[in-house]
């Protein structure tokens, strides 16, 4: 589904990603862990198409198409979704209208007609239940006045509504209490399927107790320096990121 080869990116001329390789297949869940500042959000942003980041080398292929050549909206319509670490508040843009427009655009891209108002509300209700996000969204502006947890849950609601093939969750767990964390994890577990995939970016191992990843990667200083199975996450939790840094230094010395 996704092939990343030697991906390099910089911001304001400063290299951040220094050669990332990653392959994600349908049905898989990959976790990317790493200390703050290692480039996790940068990787997610580059994949989503944020023009703030300049791709300086490498490739990214999504379902056989060159991801890096597509504007962000085409990536989304092709089935890529990123749940933001810091979802932006947009006063004056109605949550409902926004979701309706987004869904219509994505469906149109897939050759499907827009849902009727009734079908849309039905689906919204279903998905709200799925992600246990019961706040009334009617008459509210996008993320405006939402608590941190509500914003994260709204991201997962959008994910559920838009049904992407590949979802990248950027630290969706940070700032969530344990109940919210469990709800988010449950949502993801219910949404996971044979034909979709998830990249879960997280700083802590906590979330991975609820969402069991197939693979765990450690991103450090713009590179994936270690990959493994879920046990790697436990090891990281136990030994801390310093362990990785030390073993890295050891291998260079």
């Amino acid at each position: 589904m996704l092939q990343i080869k030697n991906l390099q990116a910089s911001v304001n001329g400063e290299p951040i990603l220094k050669g990332v390789d990653l392959e994600v297949k349908a049905g898989e869940i990959h976790a990317i862990m790493g200390p703050n500042g290692s480039g996790k959000s940068t990787l997610a942003s580059v994949l989503a198409g944020n023009e703030l980041y300049e791709v300086t080398g490498g490739e990214a292929w999504f379902e056989g198409k060159n991801l890096l050549e597509m504007p962000p909206e085409i990536r989304a319509r092709e089935g890529l979704f990123m749940a933001f670490q810091y979802p932006v508040e947009i006063p004056g843009v109605s949550n409902i209208n926004f979701l309706k427009t987004a869904l219509a655009e994505i469906r149109a891209h897939r050759g499907l007609p827009p849902l009727s108002a009734k079908e849309f509300m039905q689906r919204l209700k279903e998905k709200q239940e799925l992600v246990e996000f019961n706040a009334s969204l009617v008459n509210r502006s996008l993320n405006e006045g939402f608590s941190g947890g509500e914003k994260k849950r709204n991201e997962i609601l959008q994910l559920a509504m838009l049904e992407p093939k590949l979802a990248i969750l950027d630290e969706t767990d940070s700032g969530l209490d344990i109940d919210a964390l469990r709800i988010v994890a449950n949502g993801v577990n219910k949404l996971r399927a044979k034909d979709n995939a998830f990249i879960i970016i997280t700083h802590y191992q906590r979330l991975l107790q609820y969402i069991i990843p197939d693979y765990v990667h450690v991103l450090y200083d713009g590179r994936i320096i270690k990959s493994g199975t879920k046990e790697l996450a436990y090891e990281l939790e136990e030994k801390g990121y310093d362990w990785i840094k030390e073993s890295l230094q050891a291998s260079f010395s």
Binding site: L52, E73, M82, F98
Partner: protein
């Protein structure tokens, strides 16, 4: 540089005045009491000329450009077939009573019958009305306001709208303009609303010809006790129009006034003075504005809210969207006079610049001489929120749709003040029509 502009248009007006007056005396003689104001206004104009950018209120609004040509005084008796234009200018789904004017003169044949208790007087009837002597040139005092002096001196006649009863549908004053040479078109309205009346007025402006015109529209309004009046001013004039508008409103006790001011790209030059004088206690003035600039347009909104009595409220919010090489000017004065205790006065203005070459000059100006006052103001100038734009695009919205959504969200605070669904819809359509998003330059992060 002098504080005034004495250009060839000024010279032309000074030279024409005598003949203009003589002609007026022959066709529509003004009563002495009003003529006196006219002559005084002319002397003022003669002495002061047009204001230059040396004057504080004209600092960013340079008249030298728009007034470099001669705008001819018109005979004021133009006729035109308005049938098609009227249809195009009517607002869909608004059951309004249309009052149709051509170059400021009532076109009875095209106008709808007035509701009971509403009188629209023109010519001699207006000149000799008891309210004319009482209010003409005393609500909008020409002293110190050059464009009011200009209007008072050169307006051939004025209209008087007298509202005695609550109206069950909005009055839509449709201002059409036609000319076959560059023309100066002064226009004037005196509006008196009797006690306890509730009414709504829509003002729209339309050009029938493409010759350059200088519109100078002065409105004097007097709201008696417990009146509720809403004005919706919608300016979607075309290029070659220069628009000077001065609106002076006096509110009596417990009256409520909403003034909604919308302008769009088109007219090369717009200057609005929107003034509300809270002359009776417990009265309320709300000034809302949305201006969309485009091309080389200059849009200048100067407002005054004058708290003269205790216990009055005012709310003001102007928002600007500036595209291309357009310039926006906003000046909001709030006066709280001595003794105007328990005043609440709020003002906000926000602008977004959608191009690197667009500019805005915004200045709140508060002068407070009472102590028991709640007063606040805020002013922001920003650009398209690139972060929000990216967020929307990652959800599948095209860049164009996302930009449109964000601009409409910005405008929403003002659009939502329109209580009429159909009028709000009309303004939204104008907004969409005048946003040329494809050409808006992404701003550097």
């Amino acid at each position: 540089m002098s504080k005034s502009i004495f250009n060839s248009f000024y010279q032309y007006l000074i030279e024409q005045y005598e003949a203009f007056q003589a002609n007026l005396q022959g066709t529509l003689p003004w009563p002495d009491a009003l003529l006196k104001h006219k002559q005084q206004a002319f002397e003022l104009f003669k002495k002061q000329g047009f204001p230059s950018t040396k004057q504080e209120d004209w600092k960013y609004t340079n008249l030298a450009g728009p007034l470099q040509q001669i705008f001819h005084l018109s005979a004021g008796n133009e006729t035109a077939d308005l049938q098609t234009a009227l249809k195009a200018a009517s607002i869909k789904d608004v059951q309004a009573c249309r009052i149709v004017l051509l170059n400021g003169r009532l076109q009875r044949a095209y106008s709808d019958p007035l509701p009971e208790g509403v009188h629209f007087l023109e010519g001699a009837e207006a000149l000799h009305h008891y309210y004319a002597e009482e209010y003409f040139a005393s609500l909008a005092d020409p002293t110190g306001i050059p464009l009011v002096a200009l209007n008072t001196a050169f307006v051939p006649a004025f209209n008087l709208l007298h509202i005695q009863k609550t109206t069950d549908r909005p009055l839509h004053i449709m201002h059409f303009y036609a000319s076959h040479q560059a023309s100066f078109l002064p226009e004037r309205l005196l509006l008196v609303t009797e006690e306890q009346v509730q009414t709504q007025i829509i003002d729209t402006f339309h050009q029938l010809t493409t010759e350059p015109i200088l519109i100078n529209y002065v409105v004097e309004q007097y709201l008696k006790e417990q009146v509720a009046m809403d004005i919706f001013l919608i300016n979607a004039l075309q290029p070659n129009a220069t628009f000077f508008h001065h609106s002076e409103t006096y509110l009596h006790s417990q009256s409520t006034y909403h003034h909604l001011n919308f302008s769009f790209p088109g007219a090369d030059f717009i200057r609005n003075n929107i003034n509300a004088r809270l002359q009776g206690s417990a009265s309320e003035a709300n000034l809302w504005g949305l201006y969309v600039g485009g091309g080389h347009q200059l849009v200048d909104n100067h407002t005054i809210v004058d708290h003269q009595q205790p216990g009055c409220n005012s709310n003001e919010w102007y928002k600007g969207i500036l595209q291309d090489k357009s310039t926006g000017v906003f000046n909001g004065k709030i006066f709280v006079e001595k003794g105007a205790q328990k005043t609440n006065a709020f003002q906000k203005n926000n602008a977004i610049l959608l191009s690197r070459e667009a500019t805005v000059h915004a200045k709140p100006q508060l002068e407070i001489f009472a102590d028991d006052v709640k007063c606040s103001h805020g002013s922001t100038v920003g650009q398209m929120n690139e972060e929000a734009l990216f967020y929307l695009r990652t959800r599948g919205l095209s860049e164009l749709t996302a930009r449109q959504l964000l601009i409409e969200a910005f405008a929403f605070d003002i659009l939502s003040k329109i209580p009429h669904k159909a009028v709000a819809h009309h303004v939204m359509e104008l907004l969409r029509q005048h946003l040329h998003l494809e050409s808006s330059i992404p701003i550097d992060a």
